[in-house]
Symmetry: C3
Subunit: 453 residues, 3 copies
């Protein structure tokens, strides 16, 4: 029943080795934080951050997971691989983040606390953004390798920009969104540019899958204020929530009217599923700064414009001219709006320098803040460095993958990796009257293990 080739498959071996290594690292190097003072009625890190931990976790697993279920035959993989790769990345990112944190401070055991998990989830968001670019085209084995290398580059990038340069990026417009998107785009350019167009038959959505996908969008939207404000300082945190909320409402309105213009008088579900969120990305860097309500609305409008224009106009052109097949369009949701967010940070810090009396909010991600007058230049440098590391990292990882692994044989199709129900692929959504003798359907492997449960 169990065959040796399945035990010694690279996926299984790599996962087992990974988990053993994690248990060694966690067993020898990672401790609990023990800040609690006996007698207190509340554990402060629970009271201050557990709510945000769980909100961000919802965004990761429900938000990203279900947003990617829009593909008609790739729902198991979209939600299932998100689940798998997120858990793997949570464990690994806590280690890579801890490593560079200790490089900055001092070596010795690392004490994890709830904010460490939140930072692990931010890192996982970057991996899932990258996953969006390659969705449907890679194998679970490749995803493990991507997550492994991406986290090293990710934590390095934070070390350079946040720890050393002391750039501001509380919600991660640059270090999470732009990083994950450009890593993914350069990765997919190397990895899948030769993908045959026939695969595209399965790369669309159906009515039900679109409604599932919108569930993902809405959960991301709802908790985006928590994402941007989770680790903001008290006093600035309130602004992070408020600005993010206002920016998101503006990007929704912008998306609807631009979609109506660009899609010939109708709304396109792809725009609504994606560009509505661009306001959260575009206000990420400046969320906790004193940008005023009107500044937040402006970020949302700018993000929504860039994103909808990207999806409607530039997506086909970029695919054609640059050979970049970005399955979920992450460059238009996370990449370009992330750059908008980074530039908003340059502008906001420039204005703040000129009006120092209101510059109350100079608090970055880790509260390491460089109070000099050159913050705008630092922000610009951080944006450039982030794009550089992301693109280099994506190309590097792409070449590694290309050397040692094989892409999915049957793109955008669950049946390669999952036991699927008998009716799979025979739904009338694809073909109202499938001919049972049609050879297209022959190579499916219907599961017969479904009756057991």
């Amino acid at each position: 029943m169990v065959e040796l080739k399945h035990i010694f498959s690279p996926f299984v071996i790599l996962t087992i080795v990974f988990e053993i290594v994690m248990m060694i690292i966690y067993g020898t190097w990672i401790e609990y934080d023990t800040e609690y003072t006996p007698g207190e009625t509340e554990d402060p890190q629970v009271a201050n951050t557990y709510k945000f931990y769980s909100d961000v976790a919802v965004m990761i697993l429900i938000g990203f997971g279900y947003l990617m279920t829009f593909l008609k035959k790739y729902g198991y993989s979209a939600a299932g691989f998100t689940f798998f790769i997120s858990c793997l990345t949570f464990q690994w990112a806590i280690v890579t983040n801890a490593f560079f944190h200790q490089v900055y401070t001092s070596f010795g055991k690392f004490a994890i606390e709830i904010p460490s998990i939140v930072e692990g989830m931010y890192a996982t968001a970057a991996v899932l953004i990258t996953f969006g670019a390659i969705l449907g085209k890679t194998t679970p084995l490749q995803l493990i390798i991507v997550a492994f290398f991406e986290m090293i580059f990710y934590s390095l990038n934070i070390y350079v920009n946040i720890y050393q340069l002391k750039a501001i990026d509380v919600g991660g417009s640059m270090i999470i969104h732009a990083f994950g998107a450009f890593f993914g785009i350069s990765l997919t350019r190397v990895l899948t540019s030769k993908l045959q167009t026939k695969s595209h038959n399965d790369s669309g959505s159906v009515y039900t899958s679109d409604i599932f996908s919108l569930i993902g969008t809405i959960w991301l939207w709802l908790y985006w204020p928590s994402f941007n404000g989770a680790l903001a300082m008290p006093g600035a945190q309130f602004r992070a929530f408020m600005n993010t909320f206002l920016s998101l409402t503006a990007s929704v309105l912008t998306t609807f009217f631009v979609s109506h213009i660009l899609r010939g008088g109708k709304f396109d579900m792809v725009d609504i599923q994606n560009a509505t969120l661009a306001g959260g990305v575009a206000v990420g860097t400046t969320a906790d700064l004193f940008i005023y309500p009107v500044g937040a609305l402006s970020c949302g409008v700018a993000g929504g414009l860039v994103s909808t224009l990207g999806f409607a106009y530039f997506a086909p052109k970029i695919e054609k001219f640059f050979g970049v097949q970005d399955t979920c369009g992450v460059q238009f949701l996370h990449g370009w709006p992330g750059i908008v967010g980074g530039l908003a940070g340059v502008i906001a810090t420039k204005i703040a320098n000129e009006h120092p009396s209101r510059y109350l909010a100079e608090r970055s991600f880790h509260a390491f803040f460089h109070r000099g007058g050159d913050q705008p230049e630092i922000q610009l440098a951080a944006l450039g460095i982030t794009l550089g590391i992301a693109i280099f990292g994506g190309l590097f990882t792409g070449f590694i993958l290309k050397l040692g692994t094989q892409n999915a044989l049957n793109p955008f199709n669950d049946s390669e990796f999952w036991e699927v129900p008998q009716e799979f692929g025979k739904e009338p959504q694809q073909d109202s009257f499938p001919d049972p003798s049609d050879s297209k359907w022959v190579d499916y492997n219907p599961s017969d293990g479904e009756q057991m449960i």
Copy 2:
């Protein structure tokens, strides 16, 4: 590609003008609250209300949005237009609420804080209840106009009843639920009474859409205690959660047994999707008062009874005799149980007057409380005024819409407003063996833009 007629469509122009006006108002009149004292480890408004803000946001966008996806061909519009109109209303309701707040106190800049956003969400709930009455029959352009006028009447009603009369209505049985429902019913009476019955072919549900819809119900149910208690005072807030929870459990049990009786020994999904929530509505006014656990259970039973009887018995009669086509039956979920809740407030304050020693909980929505002995009369007056303003507002808005706009041409059908997948409308749910030559399907416009993502 982009045609001028799509740029200059009334929907686009109105949305753009709206957003520009919002940016001017927010830029000149709205500020952040700055209560935070440096050195504190927590921002009090974050600690006390952010959790409730996000719970109520889930109710609005997931709860109302997915509850309305029960229509078989209207899922994009139900969830998508909820998303759009909610964001528009969030921005606008903050302004109308702020205006009447400043009328009551003093003019000058208005400082928003997290409770302002929660109040904006309460206002949005009223608009979505109204949306439920006209679901499937109106255009997005009309929805903007509805939201615009409804918010003016809504904030005026709060000004009269809460600020001036000092009525109690912590969870908004009257000012949110009954208001939204009766506004919607009078609006739909004016607007859509001539709707042809042929449209009804699409006004039913299918198996999958009903399960989506139940997701909405359950999320509404789960966070209803947060809705009723979000802005309750410390000390009373605990009671608001407890009473709402108990009332909701009682309305679920009541709904199941009444449905079983009235539907011929089976359960009807329409009842379960809706009347189970009536306990949350019916306890809204009295949630934070000292009504005792048994009082809370009684509200739930009363709400469930009124709601299930309304759906099963009165819905067809009201449609026939009054010409009111209430798509989601909001009068039975929000309208009548809202009146029950208002009357419960009269009774509870009357009993409290007679037993002053336990009357610890005289805290209303805004903590402006009139401690005199005439609170029961005030509650009754507030209920009457609310119904009056709601019905007048709905009729007024209906006539405005009738003069200047056109209803949806293809009711209960996404294809009028959305690019839909090719298989749309061909699902076997409607017709197991659709005849491809059937003229019914000719006027669909299958999207060809779906392959791009």
Copy 3:
């Protein structure tokens, strides 16, 4: 229209009697807690436990409810009966828990507070686990009877193990998960062992129902730290979250690689929907103890192994040899991993006894802790007693049901209890080209009540 036989059906009568009895008990015996001190800006039980109350409620209604929607024709019942039976159990479990609490302390009125509701939800989780074992085979009437008796045994078991023996089980590996699972298995052994195999045609899943079901899994996963930590003491609560989170990530990785091995090189959705959660169960007893991060990871790996092996290897064998038809496989998700969790508690307390200086975390469910050296023996005794009471209770309840009630006539099929849409059962998922004259479809009762809403 309304027939007497529907009014006097046993389901209706029992539900009405239940609710009347509840109103009498709540009206005479249950009061609000009144700990709040006027002047405080926060109600402590709101600040400390309301978040966890709502997270656990999500797990109960969305998590368990949607996890059970995997059956292709049983979605209404899975989500709907979960909703019904949960609300009934919430009310009743608060009473049974209160009764045994007063037996332990002193009689007199019982003051409910938010933790009482959380404990009511824990109890409901046990009922829903039991429901998973009998899913699709019983009637709503039988569910009421199951919940009634199970709660008495459940609270008795807590009284013996937690109040009297002072066993530790903060997340309920033993008293919730193993209890509910073994109660359910012994119940289903008595009740449904003769179930004809023909019913199995409907006991499988379809593609869309599996994706719905995975929504349930992910919500359970997300909030499991809240489940295990909700009532942990400050200082230990942080560890409960952390350990549960780490254990869950490890069980996800374990599930994926074991599934890949055991299912012939593919992943099986049944494993992913279930065994990924085994880490939460397996760390339940020890979650707030000082087990270190590596101990948490080990619990997750052990839970994932036991669970996937159970689903893949033992499920068919147990069904065949023992005649136990465990619809959802709750013994493999809750039963065996619950035993693993209980044994982990024995080991952890043994190690702690040998290293007393780090034994900071001796805090149990109710903070009644027995500080002697015999804690490991107590833990083992509690595991045995729990299994004994659960198995006896399940057999007892099974015989009661067998004497007085009838099982579902049409297993795994919504049409017996619900008005179903016309297309129900005609979906191509079951049969691509259903023959309309096929007698199989004749006995459906398509609803004609759907047009009304």
